[in-house]
Symmetry: C2
Subunit: 334 residues, 2 copies
């Protein structure tokens, strides 16, 4: 593979000049420039980003660690991160943590070795020593979607408090009283916060929450189905099941269908987290939509701010309630 030295020899100039052409340095004659370009073309020269990065100490690369690409929420997030980064001249390396701290740390290590300029993490579970150390050392880190308690790192996340309050209001207006919430693990900030917001909203609307109506799963469809089964087996089952993410909603849907129950007649269903196919099922699922693309975009902006020496501030974007038919037909002021 042709090197800068070959191009220089072929064009009859020095490597410095070729490098200047590569970097659009204006102090190169138009004539020399065209000669160099011609040499590059003839040799099919492809600049070596590895060598450049070694010298410049910058890779123009961002690392993104997400919970699971196969989860549409993260897919949309990743897409936005990629698009935004690309527009700013950065390449993105995506790592799939599979919701496991160990995998997450593997990617953190790998990406640091690759010398990514910045790191966007959707932290799984607990604070790991590795992440904590990087945060303390002031590494170029930003948390996306989730935060970690006690770790001082800028974050970009969605705030579902208002949307959950709106959902509870909507449910109440439709006459529902016995509302259950199945959510993710308390070790995830998203799991904790959604549960907290739900309990607060219920209290605000003077609705009682049966202790058995709040269950923690793992944000996967299997646990959504299992918890739904448990709820439906209660002597007094809930009138509404509100699931903590799109996969748990899917599990709930399964269990409800398997029992031959009708939505929303026998039991209503709502989801925290909206995905493109929810409007297409019958009945269309009422959901709280997180601005996934916007989160990704803002995340990149925050990290680029940090890299550019500008102050990086945490961002919290509101999630919004999208009323469809799965909780009942009533119109809602929303």
């Amino acid at each position: 593979m042709a090197r800068i030295k070959d191009v220089a020899a072929h064009a009859g100039v020095s490597v410095a000049t070729v490098s200047r052409v590569l970097n659009d340095n204006p102090s190169v004659t138009e004539e020399t420039r065209t000669r160099v370009y011609a040499a590059m073309r003839e040799l099919s020269y492809v600049p070596n980003a590895v060598a450049r990065s070694l010298r410049t100490e910058a890779t123009k690369t961002l690392g993104l660690i997400i919970g699971d690409i196969a989860n549409p929420f993260f897919a949309e997030l990743a897409r936005a991160v990629e698009d935004t980064a690309r527009a700013a001249g950065y390449t993105v390396i995506i790592g799939n943590a599979d919701e496991r701290a160990e995998e997450q740390d593997h990617y953190v290590r790998t990406l640091l070795e690759q010398r990514v300029d910045g790191l966007l993490i959707c932290p799984t579970a607990e604070v790991t020593p590795l992440v904590e150390e990087i945060a303390r050392a002031g590494g170029p880190l930003v948390f996306l979607d989730r935060t970690l308690p006690g770790v001082h790192v800028p974050s970009v996340r969605a705030d579902g408090t208002d949307a959950i309050r709106a959902l509870v209001a909507h449910l109440r207006q439709l006459g529902h009283r016995r509302i259950a919430f199945i959510s993710g693990p308390a070790r995830l900030s998203t799991g904790r916060e959604r549960t907290g917001a739900f309990l607060a909203a219920m209290a605000e609307h003077g609705l009682e929450v049966h202790p058995e109506y709040v269950q923690a799963g793992d944000f996967r469809s299997g646990s959504g189905r299992a918890l739904t089964a448990r709820l439906l087996d209660l002597p007094e089952p809930p009138q509404v099941i509100f699931a903590g993410d799109n996969l748990m909603t899917l599990g709930a849907l399964d269990e409800i269908r398997a029992r031959g129950l009708r939505i929303p007649g026998d039991v209503a269903l709502a989801s925290f987290d909206d995905v493109p196919w929810f409007p297409h099922v019958d009945p269309a699922i009422t959901a709280i939509s997180q601005p996934a693309a916007e989160l990704g975009k803002r995340g990149v902006r925050v990290i680029l701010d940090r890299l550019g020496g500008r102050p990086a501030e945490s961002v919290s974007l509101p999630a919004v309630l999208v009323v469809r038919q799965s909780c009942g037909e009533g119109r809602d002021v929303s």
Copy 2:
């Protein structure tokens, strides 16, 4: 950030010894080794993969260019590629071509500059001069999911011929005769092949295909909806709509629902490409399932074979028909 030189000084050895420890060279004393590890820990040393890659001329990185991460099929594919590559010690950089040749070429260029060891491409549309040149130069390329006519590169793809034949048999057995197929653009190998297989299967079963019943869209939901509308507006609308990918199926579902038609009573629906939520809609969608994860896995294996100097052979995996309820209730021998 600590360099190998610092570690060496701190441990009282030479850089060569540190490098040997990093690379598990057995000729280092156990005692020296522990001293070096201690120094690394104390300095929070992180090896610089950029420098290593420059020297070794290998990045232990694979590039993957897909049509769209937000399409669940590609998400699953990407996930499998990542998992498999990771198990072999490789990192994956994913590029989103957004189904545009121009974007695809941008990523090809970027990934070549990054000196990825191998490149997995799901080619969009036409053969671009860039891709053609790399193929001719014998670059470490593998095509995934799709192939390009006239370009000699190993490929890993799914073959839907048998599954489409099985679907047509299934439809015929249920009494359907007027079957329409809305598919992707003919410029994509997947679009062409699926259409060809459909026509062949229809002929085999002695079913006539009304020319208006075969329409080409763009593998996106919008065109799925538009084409479905056109079909339903025909004086003699089809009894079955078979959509060429999961997004077009979604569009078709929309249009059918919007008209208040019932599936499969008023019109049956089938999809080429299965996604996790198809079993959860009512009625569950009959679909042809492509082994996306297996494609990804095999793709990585093929490219690693190439890199390892072993012969890289093209792979074609059968897609399978998954009968559900959207075409009618009849049991099928499949």
